[in-house]
């Protein structure tokens, strides 16, 4: 297994694509798109192969590759996936491939756009396949930076910002107090806020990683080795845990560290929002599992209750704001940050079913929110507004997009038949014994999700056709429709056959959780049911 280069192919294809793009002229738009399609397509195909080749009965880290990168610092370029990494790699590759097609209409500096997008997705995949803390951080930090130009150049201002045209308001726009003017931000402001917020979180996590490096005494960043041999006690362990948890939770984003995220989503172009909400935010959960859960299991048992408390804030606050927002991307952005609360609940319960559900939910949410952002982007491109009250009746103009949008909403609220349903049920079932109150709130949160998503659907597609929608048209070409169909197909396929992913995820969750709670791991019964 050690000589398999499958992970390298998945990881490096986007980077190679980005490097090749540097040498292509912006005038050859078709060539640029072709290169992006090919390099993301290689990752896409290879990650499906990864899912099917991954041996879940054996479990553990597979497809490992290990090279010494720096002897002095004890850094290894150590790739490998376990059951938690596989679905996330798959989600990243699907969203990248879809995102390349979603961005087909971009004409301004197209090669730079695709290069940044490929680097963003490649770095995200890099985090999911790194088994060395240094490279986990390396790719983590690397994924943050391309967001700035992607938002700043190809993003869009909010409606509130554009409406501030009088000289008075323009002066206000540049004043420091303007920071508190929610919903009226420029894309530059959103991009800077996102970058600084995530950098601040990253350096916090870096401090934790450096402390792990120092006090393990092993002179290594090797995660499996640290998990096995590193022992941390007392206050030091608590400090490391808190640094890693809050450092990574800021990208997750856990309430009250979420404020960069909806602003960033709203400013970003469609493909970036998709990757951002779909897989970039899950870097937080994933890194918390890799650091806190794996290296500091005892502290996780004691301290994960913090997440259980804060996730209520995420679920309720995100849902509440989404219900009152008028901007489509704000609604989807806040709904994402609300749904990330479910993942934290599933993780906090420290239960086999709920943690498996949480990982599955990360995958499911990536697809659902990816679809929503893709179609919100389409509506925005056609009507040049995201303001719901000034839209309506688009069903007649774009039946295909409307249909897909309804499917995406259904997926997002967890309709049976989509993979979100399976994941939500597992989270709720698993957390019930540990946190009944939070579980009830989470179920109520689903109702809230229905309320705001249905309201957005009604506002966009039903009712009277508005003036702005008059010249809108539906997706016409195969490259507009393909990404939507891919995401829907994946969401439904894994919803009908969740076993494909569940076995894989369980093989990753079991060894991690068995070190935290002393319970006999679950076994699969003849009918595929889970019993303790």
């Amino acid at each position: 297994m050690t000589d398999s280069i499958l992970l390298s192919i998945i990881l490096f294809a986007p980077f190679i694509g980005a490097a090749v793009l540097i040498f292509v002229s912006n005038r050859q738009a078709l060539l640029v798109r072709q290169i992006a399609v090919v390099s993301s397509g290689v990752s896409f195909v290879a990650s499906f192969i990864l899912l099917f080749v991954f041996d879940w009965e054996k479990g553990g880290y597979q497809f490992q590759q290990k090279y010494v990168w720096s002897e002095q610092l004890g850094i290894q370029f150590y790739l490998g996936v376990d059951g938690i990494g596989v679905p996330m790699v798959l989600a990243s590759a699907i969203l990248l491939f879809a995102g390349v097609f979603i961005s087909w209409h971009i004409t301004d500096r197209i090669k730079e756009f695709y290069a940044f997008l490929l680097v963003l997705a490649g770095a995200t995949i890099g985090v999911y396949v790194s088994l060395d803390l240094f490279f986990l951080y390396f790719f983590y930090e690397m994924s943050v930076i391309p967001m700035y130009p992607l938002l700043g150049i190809w993003g869009s201002h909010t409606k509130g910002y554009l409406e501030m045209t009088t000289p008075e308001q323009q002066a206000q726009r540049d004043s420091p107090g303007f920071i508190l003017n929610f919903g009226r931000n420029s894309k530059e402001y959103a991009a800077m806020k996102l970058t600084l917020f995530l950098s601040a979180g990253a350096v916090m996590a870096l401090m934790g990683i450096l402390l792990i490096y120092k006090f393990s005494g092993l002179n290594t960043f090797d995660i499996p080795l640290l998990a096995e041999q590193g022992h941390f006690d007392g206050t030091l362990a608590t400090v490391i845990w808190l640094l890693c948890f809050f450092g990574f939770a800021s990208i997750a984003p856990l309430w009250p560290l979420h404020s960069w995220s909806p602003v960033g989503h709203a400013a970003a172009p469609a493909a970036t929002s998709m990757l951002h909400a779909g897989v970039l935010m899950k870097l937080g959960h994933f890194s918390i599992i890799r650091t806190c859960f794996q290296i500091l299991p005892d502290q996780t048992r004691d301290l994960m209750v913090i997440a259980a408390v804060l996730c209520v804030g995420s679920i309720l606050y995100g849902g509440y704001v989404a219900y009152h927002a008028r901007d489509t991307k704000y609604i989807i952005g806040y709904s994402s940050s609300s749904h990330m609360g479910y993942v934290f609940l599933g993780m906090a319960a420290l239960d086999y079913i709920s943690l498996t559900g949480a990982v599955l939910y990360m995958f499911a949410h990536a697809l659902a929110t990816g679809m929503l952002f893709a179609m919100a982007g389409w509506v925005y491109d056609q009507t040049h507004t995201r303001d719901i009250p000034s839209l309506g009746g688009l069903m007649t103009k774009m039946p295909f997009v409307s249909g897909c949008f309804i499917v995406a909403c259904m997926a997002s609220i967890g309709m049976p038949g989509t993979v979100n349903f399976v994941a939500e049920v597992m989270i709720v079932l698993g957390s019930w014994t540990a946190y009944p109150v939070q579980t009830i709130i989470a179920v109520l949160g689903i109702v809230l999700t229905m309320a705001y998503l249905f309201r957005m659907m009604r506002g966009l597609f039903y009712g009277q056709l508005s003036e702005l929608g008059r010249h809108a048209h539906d997706t016409r070409t195969w490259h507009d429709r393909l990404p939507l169909l891919i995401m829907i197909a994946c969401s439904v396929a894994f919803g009908i056959m969740p076993g494909l992913l569940l076995d894989v995820i369980r093989s990753g969750v079991d060894p991690i959780l068995s070190r935290i709670i002393e319970v006999v791991p679950m076994v699969t019964q003849a009918g595929g049911a889970l019993v303790p």
């Binding site: 990168w69 002897e71 002095q72 610092l73 730079e112 390396f138 930090e141 690397m142 700035y148 450096l210």
Partner: protein, 483 residues
């Protein structure tokens, strides 16, 4: 005291790079006034080729492991000296190449410019080999004299004259501090030679403390650490840009050679005492440099303040006071060399067309010259410490050295200042990529500058993606440093 200097020819081989350099400087100067019709580009090519020969000799010495002492221990050739000589020669070569088009702006003395750059390089090569306090003083002043002239080279430009004057006055002041410090140390120990001072195990008397503090202050002036940084912003802004690039790299590197010899080889027994000095300067430099850089409107000034902050970062490695700390200092200097020279090369290329160094004028650079904008992006991100670029690995190396010595205070400040630094580097990126240009004419990049930018890009990416050979180099060089 009898004076007997016995030198054999083989001993002088240790000084071969310096001797060759001296000869070549004379050749360049003579060629210039003997053949007045020769274009300055030819002179530049002549200078660069001479430096190329020196670089080959130095690399050969490194490969052969040549080492030795000369003049009763005043001149030392060891790994550290070779490292810094290579460092100085590479930066001088890149600066000469980057200057070729800029020199057209000078009305007089075009070719003497190259002579002065090489003269300063020669002084700094001697600095790297200085093994006693007297040669520290002589070589330091020798290298600075070249810079006094170079900084004020734009004779009609008030800012350049101001920069020259400021640099000169404060430089002389620092030199006075240095001499006074040396005299105090000599009075307490009775010797100038570093190994003898280290072997003398004197107590830390007040005279010795004040003496070493004054020497540190003079060197702190060279590297521009807070609170001895006040000349940096004005001098950087006023000096001709290639000189600024040179000034921001080479003298700092050479001064670190001396700092490493003094604090790591000579004074390591007093580490518990001086570590606070390093921590204090590091924290002040990082905070002051990064916070003040936010407010800058001129890109040279911004890089000046960011340079102060970078020096603060390097001082973290000094504060660690270990083998690993020394390696991290050397490695970080390499990453800083490429990123900084590259950034200044972009500034030179940009100002050739626009005649401006204001950050505001960088608006829409991506539309005017995608190559320049992309290069600047890479260099600034490397300075900010973003993976997969050189600066990131350099910072991690420094932090790893510091955390092993449990220097938490300085680490927390360093991590916070990364976030602050991100802000002002990104402001420039925002101008280049997001803002639209006022004047959309493309910016041509001359061949020599292109070469410099390509070399810097290659260095920045290579050190970031495959740092192992360079780390091995730093480790080998720092091996004999601590007793």
């Amino acid at each position: 005291m009898t004076f007997d200097l016995q030198l054999s020819l083989s001993d002088l081989l240790l000084m071969l790079p310096e001797l060759w350099m001296t000869l070549w400087i004379c050749v360049v100067l003579c060629v210039d006034f003997l053949l007045p019709r020769l274009s300055q580009r030819t002179i530049a090519a002549l200078s660069v080729s001479g430096l190329g020969v020196v670089l080959c000799v130095l690399l050969g010495y490194y490969a052969l492991g040549t080492h030795g002492l000369l003049f009763k221990g005043m001149f030392v050739l060891d790994g550290l000296a070779l490292f810094f000589k290579i460092f100085v020669v590479v930066s001088a070569m890149l600066v000469l190449l980057a200057s070729m088009d800029y020199v057209e702006r000078f009305r007089l003395f075009k070719s003497e410019y190259y002579f002065l750059v090489m003269l300063a390089a020669l002084g700094m090569m001697f600095m790297a080999s200085a093994n006693d306090l007297l040669s520290v003083f002589v070589t330091l002043e020798f290298s600075t004299f070249g810079f006094y002239v170079l900084v004020a080279y734009l004779r009609d430009d008030l800012r350049s004259s101001e920069a020259g004057l400021k640099f000169f006055l404060l430089g002389i002041f620092a030199a006075a501090l240095l001499v006074y410090g040396i005299s105090l140390v000599y009075g307490e120990t009775g010797t100038f030679i570093f190994p003898d001072i280290a072997a003398g195990d004197a107590d830390l008397t007040p005279g010795l403390v004040v003496g070493w503090l004054l020497i540190f202050a003079a060197l702190g002036f060279k590297i521009g650490a807070v609170p001895l940084h006040s000349w940096i912003p004005d001098t950087y802004q006023g000096a001709p840009t290639p000189v600024t690039a040179y000034l921001s790299i080479a003298p700092k590197g050479a001064a670190f050679a001396i700092l490493l010899r003094i604090f790591f080889s000579t004074l390591i027994v007093f580490k518990p005492q001086w570590v606070w000095l390093m921590i204090g300067t590091a924290i002040l430099s990082m905070l002051y440099g990064n916070i003040v850089a936010i407010a800058q409107k001129n890109i040279k000034r911004m890089l000046a303040y960011s340079g102060i902050a970078q020096i603060g970062n390097i001082l973290i490695g000094m504060a660690a006071g270990t083998q690993m700390g020394a390696e991290a200092v050397l490695f970080y200097l390499l990453t800083y060399l490429f990123a900084n020279i590259g950034a200044f090369a972009v500034i030179i290329a940009f100002s050739q067309t626009s005649r401006s160094d204001e950050i505001e004028d960088y608006s829409g650079l991506n539309r005017r010259s995608p190559f320049l904008a992309f290069s600047m992006l890479i260099f600034l991100l490397s300075l900010a410490g973003v993976p997969p670029l050189a600066g990131f690995i350099g910072k991690i190396y420094l932090f790893a050295a510091a955390i092993k010595e449990e220097l938490y205070s300085v680490l927390v400040v360093a991590l916070v200042s990364i976030v602050i630094a991100m802000y002002y580097y990104i402001i420039v990126i925002k101008k280049m990529y997001i803002s639209e240009p006022d004047d959309p004419t493309p910016i041509p990049v001359p061949g020599a500058l292109q070469a410099v930018i390509y070399v810097s890009l290659a260095g920045t990416l290579l050190l970031g993606i495959w740092p192992q050979p360079f780390m091995t180099f730093s480790v080998a060089v720092a091996a004999g440093l601590l007793p």
